[in-house]
Symmetry: C2
Subunit: 472 residues, 2 copies
């Protein structure tokens, strides 16, 4: 994506210089301005060019976040919240410069309430850290976007992943947030009750706002009991349509599947080659079931029957932990396996989500489009939700290839929109998908912009993303 | 609640007169201004005094809603969306007069997508209408707030009810909304994909906004497969604490209970007296399980074992439909049974919600408070979520009794807040709970007010509710 195509955010040179001076005075060497740390905090995992912040500040607590935001607010300087930097649409770029607030030092688990099945954590706690901490409680936090992302970042981008079909997304699993607003005020969006109808849902407004409305400084999350039993397996299908039909039937029958992942034929080939496995190199579904011993057996058997009805199978499943782990490792490593299809290539990951009745059609058309475009790309999907990813293996230094990939992504997004779908099921808008957001929701984007303007009147919070920095 | 205690909304007499003239010219006799129809559309099911709109207009379609809103916007006249009028906190009162838009004529089911397990309906469709329509599809819409409410109203108040513990609330089950905004523009908040991370979550912003940000004119809702089998039963406990401990353990163990309802001893007595039944007159849990034949049996048996551990039981359960229906009829009729405890009384229903670890304590303290206050009141709860109702049987014409009840409600709300709970789990803020919202969320209410001001700058949408009509 060329810089010129991104939303332009003008640099407030004077304000930035003043704020940097004040911050340096206040925090001394904790204000980092070296080139490499600034590069690390500008986004480099996408095809969007990096735009560096002027400084990085690693916040130690909420008060420090408030202090930095207040100084930035006073001098009209952009603030970019930063977690693990694993977002995919340029969310942490600094198009107008400013201060990147790194929140990974705020990584305390503040409380675990086993009876209430919730916990409160700082934003820099990663999902793996949290689950490690919860190990002995019999509880776990299910959302798994692949990367070991920070929970603050996962909330900010409304992340989901493989088991959203059973446990929902971050939207469903954040009970309450503490956030520093663009004027430096600290708010709490809700109490710790499981449900509430007290006022506007500010929790859901901040979840998915991608740091453009405030900086999340604490999160209360729902937890779940670790299932008594887990079974899982892989099932090949003769084609995409029949795999999708099996998914639809499984969900309609109320099988409470925990994960149901589509992997296309090329991705299966990559997985086999990468790890020396011998799965069928046809479209496959990877499944996982959570429940009682009897329950997961019943679920797996029911799915096996459904798959057979649609010409799929054999469905090989297991409830033995080591075998399951191996299975999901293959799925989790799919990204690296696919990238290895083309040595030296970088992976460009994009996602869309459509009503599940249109999923097969959307994937088939997309595979044909990949073929026509001469791109090397695989398709993987959280298909229980109608959400799938395309991973394009690219030479980022070849402008013609970048152009072809961008044109392909545009067609993919418009294809999803034409099927009443969304331009992103879980990656978010960032800088990369702003134009598709407009195409998707039309005048509703004006309402979003009015909300942005009301909460962040000077446009300092992560400008140039989602609904942009433009004034209404 | 005395009128003087409600948020005051000044009447714009000139604007109202002008708008009424224009609307009469445009819609003729369809603009209703009779006393009795206006009374029907002002809230009368609460202890909040009725405040009548100046006219009622029964909208036939979205364009008519837009037309009325545009006229009201131009002349700064309040618009109050109206469904079945079953809300409980003065949501449909017209403190500044204005036009009540009755949406019950917009009652078409626009589409049912069985493969996607969703449907799109107009706001005047009631939940019973929808489920009747879905009968032959094998699907159902689970949210059941008790009353046969309109789906638009249920979305506006973020309703839930008995089976939210399994299926979530309206927050979780609205995929997308069409809404007429305060300037008359029609927006759609999302596409029909199951999940999305495209921009701010306007769907969740409007769900629970109680008509203060716009008029909902269509809703896309999630549907679920009718469970293959359902079992249910009633289980008595020696006391509240042990009933609550059984609830906590059941949920922690991951039993996917569909309903788990607490009924206190006095309410059980009322239920027996009302319908000639002979349940144990101690604190009881009413339960329902959804799943496969084997699954519901396993769930019921597991619960029975848990109940016995806590000294509860016998847990009598059945999967025979007629017996279940009888059981739930008893629970559903609890309101009338309780009101019948005191002939001539009116029921004042209020709700709070606390973290489940505090639930027993909150209920026990509340029962003691009822006792001390000399009020006649029962406690019923959707305890899987930590949500419970108190139903006070009152003589609304006795000012001392009204005062005592209001003081009790205030103490109940503050008790819930002191336990990190919310002043309302499902009834909403309306006019009745505005002061508790401030106590609950503090400065976050300023952010809500900024959002209200941005979306409804003239404060015409359902003024005097939630965050009020005040300017920032």
């Amino acid at each position: 994506m060329a810089l010129a195509e991104l939303e332009q955010v003008s640099r407030n040179e004077e304000g930035i210089a003043t704020a940097l001076g004040i911050l340096r005075q206040r925090f001394g060497e904790r204000l980092l301005t070296g080139q490499s740390i600034r590069e690390q905090h500008a986004h480099t995992t996408t095809y969007i060019p990096a735009q560096l912040p002027d400084a990085v500040f690693a916040a130690g607590d909420t008060q420090e976040v408030q202090e930095v935001v207040r100084i930035c607010a006073e001098h009209r300087v952009p603030v970019i919240p930063f977690g693990t930097g694993t977002s995919l649409e340029g969310h942490v770029n600094a198009p107008g410069g400013g201060i990147s607030i790194d929140l990974m030092g705020m990584n305390r688990i503040l409380s675990v309430n086993a009876e209430d099945m919730d916990c409160t954590v700082e934003p820099g706690v990663t999902r793996e850290d949290l689950n490690l901490h919860l190990r002995d409680t019999g509880l776990f936090f299910p959302i798994d976007p692949g990367a070991n992302a920070s929970l603050g970042g996962m909330a900010a981008t409304r992340a989901s992943g493989t088991n959203a079909v059973r446990y929902g997304t971050m939207r469903d699993n954040v009970v309450s947030l503490s956030a520093v607003m663009p004027d430096g005020r600290l708010i709490q969006t809700a109490r710790r009750a499981r449900k509430t109808s007290a006022g506007y849902d500010l929790t859901r407004l901040l979840v998915g706002a991608e740091g453009t409305l405030g900086v999340i400084t604490a999160l209360t999350l729902r937890l779940y009991g670790i299932p008594q039993a887990i079974s899982g397996g892989v099932c090949p299908f003769p084609d995409v349509e029949r795999a999708c039909q099996a998914v639809i039937t499984t969900i309609q029958m109320g099988v409470p599947v925990a994960r149901i992942e589509f992997v296309n034929a090329l991705a299966m080939k990559a997985i086999n080659a990468y790890a020396g496995l011998d799965y069928s190199e046809s479209p496959c579904l990877f499944l996982e079931f959570h429940g009682s011993e009897a329950g997961v057996k019943e679920q797996a058997e029911t799915f096996g029957e459904i798959a057979a009805e649609f010409g799929g199978g054999p469905f090989l499943w297991t409830s033995v932990a080591e075998q399951r782990t191996k299975l999901w490792k293959a799925r989790h490593n799919a990204y690296w396996a696919c990238v290895a299809l083309r040595p030296g290539a970088r992976g460009l990951s994009t996602d869309v989500c459509v009503p599940i009745s249109r999923l097969a059609e959307c994937i088939v058309e997309t595979e044909a489009d990949i073929e026509r475009s001469g791109l090397l790309a695989t398709v993987l999907g959280h298909v229980g939700d109608g959400n799938f990813h395309v991973l394009v293996m690219m030479d980022m230094d070849d402008p013609k290839e970048v152009e072809a990939a961008e044109a392909f992504v545009a067609r993919l997004n418009r294809r999803a929109l034409s099927m009443d779908g969304t331009c992103t099921g879980e990656h978010g808008i960032g800088q990369g998908k702003m134009r598709f957001l407009e195409e998707e929701l039309g005048e509703a984007v004006d309402v979003m912009r009015a909300v942005k303007q009301a909460i962040d009147p000077h446009g300092i919070m992560n400008p140039g993303k989602v609904v942009g920095a433009r004034r209404i």
